[in-house]
Symmetry: C2
Subunit: 156 residues, 2 copies
DNA sequence: CCGATTTTGTTGAGCGTTCAACTATCGGCG
DNA sequence: CGCCGATAGTTGAACGCTCAACAAAATCGG
């Protein structure tokens, strides 16, 4: 306390607000499209994607939570709902009796396959189409830097 | 239909995932900090900020919704809660009997003033400290481009 | 080997957002 | 004027997320 706050200068203000506006609008748009076309929020789509990418090696709940950047609680609730929809299955982990393993069902895979083209199209339209190749590269570097920075001094 | 999906190439994949991870982590961190330190989500903080910036000219609900990038419904619910907390007041608009005007209360202003330094510090720590000045500039341009692009073909 | 600690995953309550439906008012056009 | 479509804002239900509390199993330390 007593330490003077270093307020944002006008440029930083502008950057911060633009980032807020853009990322919120982007996420909202994708979420809305995915909800409309596939009946699931973006977070659930991501879970299915991760599961589809590890078809042989089944994923532990924790691992899946880490991959999707969600809390255990969030994933647990999500898994319950995804299981109720018949898109995933949960099995006991053979090597750790506390563990649960998530598996994509055939129905889940089919649903994902049906949703993917439209979603990718959305990402392209809303993000990549608007940026120059150089900007895409810049965005990648910035995002990777931020992600690293945030996971270091991260969730606390 | 019948049109081949243009999937993301590996670079785009990487960019998209990094962006997802970073922006989610950033928002989650700021939201958590603001909830902990000021007892409000980031969305509500933004509403108070916008109100504090128009101390004389009171803001219509719609205008406020536009400024904060939220739906009318969202703002309406938020306003109800902010009013219950005693941070804002809603008054009838003199020129349009459908309209409502949102006003920041003294308590609301005090709460905002108390929350601001910590929040700004968070934005600095999590975002600006991690990036070079050049990257901040790039991020501004990218975000402004995206924001414009999204609000054009936008909410549909 | 046993107790303490940590890790894994789930649960329920509370909250914020979405979506669709609804009321009330405004603005324009015949 | 009187009607009709647009606009402003609210409401309630459904849903997803957060947080804290919890149960069960693994791991650590003596």
């Amino acid at each position: 306390m007593g330490v003077m706050t270093r307020w944002l200068d006008p440029d930083e203000q502008r950057t911060w607000r633009a980032f807020l506006t853009a990322s919120r609008a982007l996420m909202d748009a994708l979420d809305r499209e995915l909800q409309r076309d596939a009946g699931m929020p973006h977070a659930y789509y991501e879970i299915l994607v991760r599961l589809s990418e590890a078809p042989d090696r089944p994923l532990r709940m924790s691992e899946l939570a880490e991959l999707t950047g969600s809390s255990r609680s969030r994933l647990s609730h999500a898994a319950a709902r995804l299981e109720a929809s018949g898109w995933i299955r949960r099995e006991d982990c053979p090597t750790d009796r506390r563990g649960q393993i998530a598996v994509l069902t055939d129905t889940g895979f089919a649903t994902l396959a049906a949703a993917a083209p439209g979603h990718v199209e959305g990402v392209r339209r809303h993000l990549f189409d608007a940026l120059s190749p150089a900007q895409v590269d810049q965005l990648r570097r910035i995002s990777e830097t931020l992600a690293e920075h945030l996971t270091d001094s991260g969730p606390n």
